[in-house]
């Protein structure tokens, strides 16, 4: 579905280096990383807003240089900014931008707005941040995209809607032909829903594989520090010690070889990010 090979992009002082990954259809991909890691740059590259200095991006087998229109027709976008015209109503915004999409369905947009509790006659500029995201999400869904790209979409949702939002995403990918890329800081949601994870840090791609690989490759090990230190150094990503013991992110191998006194568990995405970011400091 999405094939990114050796993509690099320099933007002022920031440099996104050598991103390579393949997200199959039917996957929800979590894109995580600290602020300034390059998440938005990568999304802009996937959306064709930026052109890569090096490397190639193919979406559903198509490339931007020759099939920009067809690619955009297949992408639904929700970015963490106001994409719609503030002085137009939600309905007018839908009509205004919907006319460019081959599969835009006005009734479906209205239905989603209704389900999300939004009045179609309201002006976009008068909505709260969460409502704006809901409106953009309704529009993104109503032109039947094959790929949804969502940047910081969940941050402004209330807990009720957030769970509804993830249900909709699950329904959306259920037929196995569509994919979602979700950039967020709320990693707990990704732990539950993501099938694929991309972790960026200071423009570097640290991890980009499916969640099964993620869960089988890393372990959080807690216990006495000297027992953790008995593990081969190259397997310890980072270890944090305190008065009561230590906790470390380690690269797991099939043999295990952990001291029986150590507590071993799969890491959450948040723990993974935490230890990786500490390692660099």
């Amino acid at each position: 579905m999405i094939e990114v090979k050796g993509v690099s992009k320099k933007l002022g002082g920031f440099y996104l280096r050598n991103c390579t990954f393949t997200i199959p259809a039917g996957y929800i991909c979590g894109l995580v990383g600290p602020n300034g890691a390059g998440k938005t740059t990568l999304l802009h590259l996937l959306l064709g807003l930026y052109q890569a200095d090096e490397g190639t991006i193919a979406i559903d087998g198509m490339v931007y240089s020759s099939q920009e229109k067809q690619i955009h027709d297949e992408i639904g976008t929700v970015l963490g900014e106001d994409l719609f015209e503030p002085f137009l109503t939600l309905e007018q915004n839908g009509d205004y931008y919907g006319k460019y999409y081959s599969c835009y369905n006005r009734e479906q947009m209205e239905e989603y707005l209704k389900v999300f509790g939004l009045e179609k006659k309201r002006k976009f500029g008068m909505l709260s941040k969460g409502e704006k995201v809901k409106c953009l999400f309704a529009f993104a869904l109503s032109h039947a995209p094959k790929l949804l790209i969502l940047d910081e979409a969940t941050g402004s949702f209330d807990p009720d809607f957030r769970s509804r939002f993830f249900e909709i995403l699950k329904e959306y990918i259920a037929d196995g032909t569509k994919s979602v890329i979700l950039a967020t800081h709320l990693t707990e949601d990704l732990d539950r829903i993501a099938d694929y994870l991309i972790y960026l840090e200071e423009g570097n791609q640290i991890f980009a594989e499916d969640m099964e690989t993620f869960r089988s490759r890393y372990r959080i090990v807690a216990g006495e520090s000297y027992k953790i230190k008995l593990l081969p150094k190259e397997r310890i990503v980072h270890m944090e010690e305190n008065n009561y013991g230590a906790k470390a992110l380690v690269i797991h191998n099939r043999q295990g070889n952990y001291d029986s006194a150590l507590q071993v568990a799969s890491p959450s995405i948040e723990e993974f990010m935490y230890f990786f970011s500490k390692r660099r400091k």
């Binding site: 930026y50 994409l83 205004y96 931008y97």
Partner: protein
């Protein structure tokens, strides 16, 4: 087709730019200057309000359209399914439509003056030329709302518009004064020659500015085809 352009024209007025505009020191000074000039003219030219409106309404429409309707579309437009040719045609089409619409208002305004008041063709030409200069106006650096900054270099790019506004204001005074026969051109050959010389001087100042500005406009329009300005 025409209705579509009218709707797009109206829909893409970004009135919230006024807020940013007000926050920009240089632009605020220009706005204050324009307000001051308008009030002064309104007071000085009382009784000739129609002439003032016929000259100033199209001029301000062009000026504020240039400020509040950036030629660079919003981000969403770059995400909509369009190939480069279509996006280019959308951007150029919108720009040319804007110029045509504003010039139509300018011609209508001048038409009112020519039909109902005394006004020589030299003034008409000068006013229309200035209106054209104002309407081709492109605000620099409007890639994003939060990038509203005008450097000294960019100030020079909008200098032709500021000059055209001042010149049109002077012409408005001339036209109104003519009604009182202060500068009557009625059979006064010397006056016409004098006015012709002034117009020629204005024209010779504006022509190189226009030629320089034309290149800048073309570059801005081409850059606007891509979200990442200048990318090919």
């Amino acid at each position: 087709m025409f209705r579509k352009y009218i709707r797009d024209y109206m829909d893409t007025y970004r009135l919230y730019y006024m807020k940013q505009l007000w926050g920009d020191k240089e632009k605020r000074e220009l706005l204050f200057f324009l307000m001051f000039l308008s009030i002064l003219l309104m007071l000085d030219l009382k009784g000739k309000g129609i002439i003032v409106l016929a000259i100033f309404v199209p001029m301000f429409l062009s000026f504020f359209s240039g400020l509040l309707r950036p030629i660079r579309p919003g981000k969403m437009m770059y995400l909509c399914p369009m190939d480069r040719k279509e996006r280019r045609s959308y951007i150029y089409g919108d720009y040319y439509f804007r110029i045509s619409l504003h010039m139509l208002f300018a011609v209508l305004g001048i038409g009112v003056i020519v039909l109902f008041f005394r006004c020589d063709m030299l003034s008409v030409l000068e006013i229309l030329l200035n209106d054209f200069m104002i309407t081709i106006y492109i605000m620099p650096e409007q890639k994003a709302i939060n990038q509203w900054k005008i450097s000294k270099e960019e100030q020079m790019k909008i200098f032709p518009q500021e000059m055209a506004i001042i010149l049109n204001s002077i012409q408005a005074v001339f036209v109104v004064k003519e009604q009182g026969a202060v500068f009557s051109s009625n059979g006064d050959g010397h006056h016409l020659i004098g006015k012709g010389i002034i117009l020629l001087v204005f024209f010779l100042i504006e022509l190189p500015l226009y030629l320089k500005y034309r290149k800048y406009v073309k570059k801005e329009l081409e850059d606007a085809v891509f979200f990442e300005g200048g990318a090919k």
